[in-house]
């Protein structure tokens, strides 16, 4: 870890990965398989479902959260109170010893308008030697 960087709460300031299969996952939101929004107006439910969709997307590529190196969060109407909710739920998905690098930004709009949170990820599956 670098002493020049402030502490990171629930994520890593940097993550390195050797070449492997790189998996890019598009932003996931709180929808079911039919594209219907789940948890309207409820950040907690939406964070949970978005991460579940992310988990399924990773699984389709044969990857797990342990292999995720970078996560980007886009949060509509970001408030100070939003952070503890997001941190609590993501902690149940992230590898606790080696969480991914992480960036979070408050945004003006997402698609569809009912989406409060969107999460995308890059994972690297190590090459089998």
């Amino acid at each position: 870890m670098s002493q020049a960087l402030p502490p990171a709460n629930g994520y890593s300031q940097f993550v390195t990965a050797q070449p492997g299969t790189m998996v890019c996952v598009s932003g996931q939101i709180s929808v079911d398989q039919n594209g219907q929004i789940i948890g309207e107006g409820d950040l907690r439910t939406q964070t949970e479902q978005a991460l579940l969709n992310l988990k399924n997307a990773l699984a389709a590529a044969g990857a797990t959260f342990d292999q995720v190196v970078k996560i980007n969060w886009y949060v509509k109407n970001l408030q100070a109170e939003s952070l503890p909710i997001i941190r609590e739920i993501r902690a149940r998905y992230y590898n606790q010893q080696h969480p991914p690098a992480n960036t979070l930004a408050g945004v003006a709009e997402l698609y569809p308008p009912e989406a409060l949170i969107e999460v995308e990820a890059i994972a690297v599956i190590p090459n089998k030697i």
């Binding site: 890019c24 932003g27 389709a60 003006a108 709009e109 698609y111 090459n127």
Partner: protein
């Protein structure tokens, strides 16, 4: 025989796995998996001409078109094309749902229809110049020549 087997196993540089647990994706892929190659990171491209002037003031369609053209030029400079793009990120000022068809229509003309890259779009409050309405960045992987 062994060489053929190895060649077959290492064939697909980039894969587009499907998941029945996810809703359909319109004009992009949910997941793109790619083998090691040369990574190309392209900064967010906007509707600027070579002289640095923003074109298509107030016109999202014209700006999306020019941003994609600039992205194409950036890819070419790195020896890549749109088939090598694995991930796109879109940042749209004053984003409204009814703008999506415009963006989708323009991007469809550049992206592979069967296997488009992964993509995330966010509505943002501001971009670096007041007249810029849309910005698009790309992660690209050029296969290593063996």
């Amino acid at each position: 025989m062994l060489a053929t087997l190895i060649a077959l196993l290492t064939l697909a540089q980039t894969e587009y796995p499907q998941s029945k647990d996810l809703p359909p994706a319109n004009g992009y892929s949910h997941v793109v998996a790619t083998r090691p190659g040369k990574m190309v990171f392209i900064s967010g491209q906007v509707a600027m001409n070579k002289e640095g002037k923003v074109i298509g003031i107030g016109n999202l369609k014209a700006q999306t078109e020019q941003a994609m053209l600039n992205l194409k030029a950036a890819l070419a400079a790195a020896g890549a094309d749109f088939s090598h793009v694995v991930k796109l990120n879109w940042y749209v000022k004053n984003f409204k749902t009814d703008q999506l068809p415009i963006i989708r229509e323009v991007r469809a003309r550049y992206l592979n229809k069967t296997n488009p890259p992964a993509s995330t779009l966010a509505g943002v409050s501001e971009l670096f110049l007041a007249d810029v309405l849309i910005e698009v960045e790309a992660i690209t992987v050029i296969p290593e020549k063996k």
